[in-house]
Symmetry: C2
Subunit: 199 residues, 2 copies
């Protein structure tokens, strides 16, 4: 029978192979081997190679959204919420390096790879940041001069670039906690020395 978990098995295998080789260098036979199925079997579950990539985005990021939304639902303070988002993102990326790689690299070219595919799931994920910022502004906790649409990009971009350290073989290492603390310090307080207006 067409086991539902074979679909999932292929998705996970594809995530790994895409991460390691990149979409174009990934061979269908690599994915098949990784998933321990025959090449042809993949076409029983997916229409083509692009379809596999899209499914990886939708399903893996979908799960990420579920997870962070659940965590956020227990918190009300926008400062804590932004912290939860950052810590969760960084720890998932550190733990799931294959997913990290796919988001950082393949997702970015997806618009070019696949005609008329909009990354709705991805936008939905990043928009969580702007909604937290808006909430904070309503409560006068975050500055009204901050534009949520720009700040969400700045925040996500910062998290994304910071987490790249764990995917490529860069020597400098730091922990999720350290990275989270730094990101929060920068975004909440800025990098200026509080009494630097002197000089």
């Amino acid at each position: 029978m067409k086991a539902a978990n074979k679909h999932t098995k292929i998705i996970h295998a594809a995530t790994k192979v895409f991460a390691k080789k990149g979409f174009f260098n990934a061979r269908i036979s690599d994915i098949a081997k990784e998933a321990k199925v025959a090449d042809g079997t993949i076409y029983l579950y997916f229409n083509n190679k692009f379809d596999i990539l899209i499914s990886v985005f939708e399903e893996e990021i979908g799960a990420l959204i579920e997870q962070v939304k659940k965590l956020l639902s227990t918190e009300d303070d926008p400062r804590k919420m932004i912290e939860i988002f950052a810590r969760n993102h960084l720890s998932v990326m550190k733990k799931n390096k294959y997913l990290a790689e796919v988001i950082q690299i393949e997702l970015r070219q997806s618009a070019k790879l696949i005609k008329d595919y909009r990354n709705n799931k991805f936008s939905e994920y990043v928009d969580i940041i702007s909604s937290i910022i808006k909430l904070g502004q309503e409560r006068s906790i975050y500055r009204a001069t901050i534009r949520p649409g720009i700040a969400k990009r700045a925040f996500f971009g910062a998290l994304d670039e910071i987490s790249r350290v764990w995917t490529v073989g860069i020597s400098t290492e730091y922990s999720v906690e350290e990275a989270t603390q730094q990101i929060l310090e920068i975004f909440l307080c800025g990098i200026l020395e509080p009494d630097a207006s002197l000089i």
Copy 2:
């Protein structure tokens, strides 16, 4: 004669084609056509397709480094220096969309594309940020608790993600000035309302 400017012509053509189609979908014949030379001519100036991409990185980012270093050399205040870096980066990326696209997308996969190619030029560029931060720390203008190695990533990642708005066809638009101002507000002061410790 082996005109030096034919080399440059090919580099610019390649930047454009790589930006539009991505490295793997770019055909040598596309680049040749764009540069108005024969397919074979490209191999008189470059060893192979990868070599073209590497040259694009080295030469285009090399020029970017020259430019920003020159601008920075006239300034001494680390706060202004970080501003100069941000404004310059954003305005170059808004103006030169092909280069922006190549940096944002192709550069990221270069490690995977090309065995043992380290993006020295790119690291050199991003390291300008950490050196500005260190300078600021020495003068007690930037907090000592900020780790320059992490902050440079956060700052560059923020700039990079913000400038993506100009490359992909996203509806929301903002100017270089607006983006620069927001980035500086966030990084220098943070997003917290100054007297938000209330609540």
